[in-house]
């Protein structure tokens, strides 16, 4: 006997809108902090003697706000949007989803304040102290319950590829975050890692590189696999390739962390393993690149009507660069020149600005008008944003390539006695012009982000979130 029909509930898109708005606000604030620290490298007195504004503290505010405020808010928002549509159901436990939203925003805000106050665990990209680590773990588990609960209630049998990537993001980031932050609290604002010396470094870069892998790569690939076919109005070029790439990606990425520790006090075989797995990683990364490029190439007419699609096209080009450059920099004979130099900063930003930010901007230009139920306020403004973003990221990457090579050459030059020839001050003086160029690049990129924020505000102003319903089951349509 058929069960009584459940009332059809609209998709929960107000939460998606909230995460989207939060992501845009964090993007502007986080990038502004980045511009500020870039300016401090040119004019060191810009901290006005205040420790809260010193480079060491403000730089971590920049990285935490853009990574976890902008990046993760965008991933949670788009993940919740796409999991409902690919499962044909509304969210599981929507109130828990709102808890995730408010708790996450509060954690980022208080976390940024704590970093400015000098609380710092000392692990890159995991600087927040133990009370925040516990709070983040709780919020993340709540997000997992909402996401996987929705997926479990799906009315479509196969699990669409974007959900595999979002799922991997949730599971692996939980694992990384908890294991890397295991520590013994000493005071409210200080804890000491459970791991000694070199082991701590290995665990930290197992965390650090897989945060890059499963959050900045895998999570955003989830975004691409849902939104790119939607925007292009075509299915993924090769679904089979996307599945193969997913498993190859998951298997390979987890081993690549030790390439951050070349020529350090960790066993050489560990370094070599990290290098080899990083090189292998190129294959699944570029499989996805081919899939994305071929999908969008089959629907060029959509570029006319979708202002966000060109951001995605450009993001794929920078994804190609970053996923090629990374394995190359993991080769020990390249790493000896590139490590600890500005080249690494350039590499990170070709990924963070060129790939993560552009793919998110492109997705948001698609998403915001649909959430508002009206057209984007200004497509012209979006085009201006596109050119500013392209110029900003190109200038940034080129400036840092120049700075990195200069820095490396100066560091490695020896005098007639075999001593280091150039001192700290001389190297910094040589880098100053490149830092100025990077500041200009950051300002250009930030200006584009501000235009986007204004465009979205004018689009969303006064509009309530458009209601959308899951499609009716096939049997019902036939009846």
């Amino acid at each position: 006997m058929p069960a009584a029909a459940e009332p059809v509930r609209a998709y929960d898109d107000r939460i998606v809108r909230a995460f989207t708005v939060a992501a845009v606000v964090w993007a502007v604030l986080g990038m502004a902090a980045g511009v500020w620290v870039a300016a401090e490298l040119v004019w060191p007195t810009l901290d006005f003697g205040l420790p809260q504004l010193s480079f060491g503290r403000l730089r971590t505010v920049h990285t935490n706000v853009v990574l976890f405020g902008f990046g993760v808010s965008a991933l949670i928002g788009t993940g919740l949007y796409s999991v409902q549509r690919t499962s044909h159901v509304s969210l599981y436990l929507p109130k828990l989803a709102w808890f995730v939203f408010y708790a996450w925003q509060l954690a980022i805000m208080l976390g940024a304040i704590s970093l400015m106050a000098g609380w710092n665990g000392g692990k890159e990209y995991a600087e927040l102290e133990w009370p925040f680590d516990i709070a983040i773990a709780v919020v993340w588990v709540a997000f997992a319950v909402v996401f996987f609960g929705t997926l479990a209630r799906r009315k479509v049998n196969p699990i669409y590829i974007s959900n595999w990537f979002y799922g991997a993001l949730i599971i692996v980031v939980a694992m990384l975050h908890i294991v890397n932050n295991l520590a013994m609290p000493a005071t409210l604002g200080k804890a000491y890692s459970l791991y000694p010396g070199a082991q701590d470094a290995i665990v930290q870069w197992w965390y650090g590189h897989n945060a890059v892998g499963f959050l900045l790569t895998g999570g955003f690939l989830g975004m691409v696999y849902y939104f790119l076919p939607k925007q292009a109005g075509r299915p993924i070029w090769s679904y089979r390739l996307s599945i193969i790439a997913f498993w190859a990606f998951v298997y390979t990425y987890i081993w690549a962390g030790p390439h951050h520790l070349h020529y350090n006090a960790v066993p050489e075989w560990v370094q070599s393993l990290g290098m080899v797995m990083s090189l292998i990683l190129l294959a699944p990364s570029w499989a996805t690149l081919v899939n994305g490029v071929m999908t969008v190439s089959s629907a060029p007419q959509k570029l006319k009507t979708d202002p966000g699609l060109k951001f995605i096209v450009l993001a794929l080009a920078f994804y190609g660069l970053a996923t090629f450059e990374g394995p190359m920099m993991a080769i020990r004979s390249v790493n000896i020149m590139s490590h600890f130099t500005e080249w690494t900063i350039g590499h990170v930003h070709s990924g963070a600005l060129g790939w993560n930010a552009l793919i998110t901007f492109g997705t948001f230009y698609f998403l915001v008008p649909r959430l508002a139920g009206r057209k984007l306020h200004s497509e012209r403004l979006a085009t201006v944003h596109f050119w500013l973003a392209l110029a900003g990221v190109m200038l940034y990457v080129l400036a840092m390539w120049g700075a990195g090579i200069t820095q490396s050459l100066l560091w490695l030059t020896l005098d007639d006695f075999g001593e280091v020839r150039y001192g700290f001050i001389e190297v910094m003086a040589a880098l100053n012009p490149y830092y100025l160029l990077r500041l200009v690049a950051g300002l250009i990129f930030l200006a584009g982000a501000v235009l986007m924020a204004a465009n979205f505000w004018l689009t969303l102003r006064g509009a309530s979130t458009e209601r959308a319903y899951p499609p009716a089951p096939i049997a019902e349509v036939i009846a």
Binding site: L303, V313, E325, V334, S350, A429
Partner: protein
Amino acid sequence: MPRSVTVLQLGDILFRPSRVFARLAESEPDPTRVFFGLTFWLILLPPLFTYFGTSSHGWLLGVEPIILPDEIVVAVSIGYFVLLMFGFVTTALVSAWMARTYNAEDSLGMSFALVSIVGAPLAVGSIVHLYPHAFANVIVLVPILIWTVYLLYRGLPVMLRTGPERGMLMASALVGYLLVAWVSLIGITVVLWGLGLGPDMGI
């Protein structure tokens, strides 16, 4: 009727590129004519400027000028020429190959002309090599490079006779290829330095 583009049209190429793009779009340029009429002379400029600049000032990469013996400067300039030639030919070949995917004009002559015209501002801007201070070169050449990327997006759909949308897709694919090629070049260079071919470093 087949038409070509030569170095005599450099003024138009630099200051009225849209006109050149439109004119060439109606022609079928021969790759040999494009190469010897324009490309070769453009590619000759940066190594020549490098030779004269490095001979008279030495390279200033950071703190103090690196004065190189004349035979090394000649070798570096010839290497630069060969590298630019290699970069030009491979980029044009990649463009012609990609053109099929984007339903664009896939003749080698048109790709030769496109890459030459788009790269012309960089070749002329390399006059800054006469003063081989690394940062002076960066500050002059990077904005020009951004302008050439803009020219690529503007000129490709017109010259290769594809729509603006397909043109935008192909231009982005070419930018992706160029970025990867560039970073590969940096990678190969530092590996060669590490092997002892280049500056004397404490590795």
